[in-house]
Structure formats: C-alpha cells, structure tokens
Subunit: 223 residues, 2 copies
C-alpha cells in the first residue's frame, strides 16, 4: 500500500488549489461570473462542494485570487519600463508584448472579461491600484519619449488609455483557440501606435525591428 | 377638470416607455445588469412594478431594447462611409467622432459596459450582426485607403479591432460627468491612429484639420 507523505499531501493540495482557480477562471469567462455557481466550479474540478470550501471561502474570493494572479510578475515589468538604456519605443513594445500574453491566459481573460465590478470595495480597490500603477508607468514612459524628442507632444493619459483599451479588448473578440497569435496582434497594434505617436516613425519602427525579429517582418511589409 | 385626450395618453405612454429605458440603462451601467432588479427599475421611474409590465415583459427585453437604441441612425453612418468624394481619413474621423457620442450616451454605455452576453441567442445575434456590420464597414474603408495609397498595407481586421477596442473602452474609464469631452478623446485617438496608419501622416492630419476645427488645434499642437 502506498504511503502518502505530508509533503505529497501538501503538494497535492497546492495543485488542487491551482486547478480550482484555473477552472473557475475558465468558467467565469465562458458563462459569465454571475451565471457560474460554486457547484459549477466543484463539478468542473470533480470534487464535492463541501470539499471546495477547504480551499476557498466564496465565489468572490475565487474571482479576487484570479484577478490577483493576472498581475503576477508585473512589478518586474514596471521596473523594466524605467531602464533608460533601452529606447522608449522598444520598452513600450516589450511591455505590451508581455502584457498581451498575460491578458490572454485564464487569469488575464478573467480580468478583461469579468473585471473587478463584482468584488467588494477593498478587493476591488486593490485591483484598481494595480491597473492604475500600470497606467501611470506607461504615461511616464510616453512623457519620457516626448521629453527626449522621440514622441509627439500629446495628452499622455489619453494616449495610454487608447493603447490599453485596444489591448484590453483582445480577449473579447479573440477566443482561446483563435488562429491569430497574440504576438501578431501585439505587433500590428504596436506598429500602428508607435508610428502614430513617433516624431520619426520610420526610425522608430526600424529600432523596434532590430529588437524583435517578428516586428521586423511587419515593419518591412508596412513601411 | 382637465380632460385627457387619447393623443395625450398615447404621448404620455411613449414618454414613460423612453424614461423606463433610459433609467434602466443608467442602472445597468451603475450597478451592473445582474445586480439590477425590475423593482429597482420601477422605483427609479416611480411606478409600481405591476405597471412596469404594461410597458415591458422582462429585464432581458429592456436590455435588448437599450442595446438596439445604441445603434439608432447607424445605417446612415455606414452609408456615409462609402462616399468616395470625401478622403478616407476624413470619413474615418467623421465615423468615430459620431460613434463616440453614441457610445457615451445612456444606451451606448449600456452596450459597452454590459454587452450582449446576458441576452438569449436570437437577440444577442442581432446585436452581434450590427457590431459585425460596423466592423466590416471600417475594414472596407481601411482597405480602400490601402488600395488608393493613403494607408499602409496592414491587416485591416486587426487595425479595425484596435481602433474599435480603444473607443469601446472609453465608457469604462470615463464617467458620465467626466471633465474630458468625448470629442477631445476622439481627436487624440484619431490623430494617433490616422498618423499611425497613413503613408503620409502630416498630409492626412492637415486634411482632417481642414474639415474639423477641433482637430486643427490638436494637429497643430502635436505635429
């Protein structure tokens, strides 16, 4: 008879917890948050609802944890935006190329499709703070580009809202089994946005092309 | 004693119906569709719930009628997109300048914030068809611009999704009492998008500036 060690039990519990979050996130995206019950989540993970309560307290807690997961690793991404040794346009490309991957995994889709509205004030505010920090970081980068003569003077809040709006909408029209890759989308959006905001669009696209081979193909095709 | 004529009663019934739709749309945007009950709608309009049923059958019917309202007048807007006597960039500007007004009134906000997800298949499909027609019309316009050498060759589906995504997100971050006008937002988004997609951005912005005095100020400031 196999002996289950404490370590194995602990690992198994962590795995089950991750599976619960992923399945719940998938259901929230597919059926909508309101229409998904804890019974649906328990069924999807193939456990009894009573067992589900060993892992989580409520549907709201699951949503909150899913939304928090969608920001994992973003402290580092925001730090990278400050690296003055990399041209601003390239930093913008890297940031949104990473963002689109995060936005289109289970947890990111959950943030884009369900959003923080069903959460209580405290949890909702924490998610809002994350979103605001990302917005401010991109605005600072756009301002840096304006100050060093790379970008046209413009309202950085509106420009940041424009590009975030475009990226946030991707999970709405692109299903999880879509043919168009997230990187194709990111390249097209960033080529249009960067050449729109740049004072010397051609030079900016060439600079982006040197850093990312995928972007090079697009830049050659479109300029 | 005042005598109420049949005509007055009819007008009053039509007005009440419009008030019900507007108040319901406002509640759906503020509280969310799921969290709004027919009691809330009846309270907001200051009528008894039983009386509400003289006007509408269900909450889903109200949402459907609100979403239909958000597309009113759009057949004409789509026809205008075909007018080859106006430069493509100017047609794009006019279309999205009108769209942003429609998206930020009660009914348009309802479409952007609630969406068609809570509707049944038949009603949802009709809304989807409207949205698709708008998407196709903008893609055809972008293709016309590419064919006549105004715009860079690009994936018109992705470019259209980008600009719609940006505009659709406005009601999410801009409250109904916002300081920033919808036309300021439209100008910034269109300046960036049109100079991003244009082969001769400066000429395109100047062309837009001639048509719209507001755009002229922005173009002078940003180029």
């Amino acid at each position: 008879m196999a002996v289950t060690t404490t370590k194995q039990r602990k690992t198994s519990k962590v795995n089950k917890f991750e599976i619960i979050l992923k399945e719940a996130a998938r259901l929230f995206c597919e059926k909508g948050y309101e229409a998904t019950s804890l019974d649906d989540v328990a069924d999807a993970v193939n456990i009894h609802k009573a067992t589900l309560y060993h892992y989580i307290k409520s549907k709201e807690e699951i949503l909150y944890l899913c939304l928090l997961r969608s920001f994992e690793g973003y402290e580092q991404r925001l730090e990278e935006l400050k690296d003055a040794s990399v041209p601003v346009a390239d930093r913008l490309r890297r940031f949104f190329s990473t963002l689109i991957e995060a936005q289109n995994n289970e947890f990111g889709r959950c943030l884009c499709l369900v959003g923080r509205q069903p959460l209580g004030t405290e949890s909702g505010d924490k998610i809002l703070e994350f979103q605001r920090n990302m917005g401010f970081a991109v605005r600072r980068l756009l301002q840096e580009g304006i100050d060093n003569g790379s970008f046209k003077p413009c309202d950085t809040r509106l420009a940041a809202n424009m590009i975030f709006g475009a990226f946030n909408s991707v999970p709405k029209w692109r299903g999880p089994d879509a043919q168009t890759s997230t990187q194709q989308i990111a390249e097209t959006y960033l080529d249009l946005f960067i050449s729109g905001i740049s004072l010397r669009p051609k030079a900016m696209l060439d600079s982006g092309a040197k850093k990312a081979p995928g972007a090079a193909r697009r830049a050659n095709k479109t300029t």
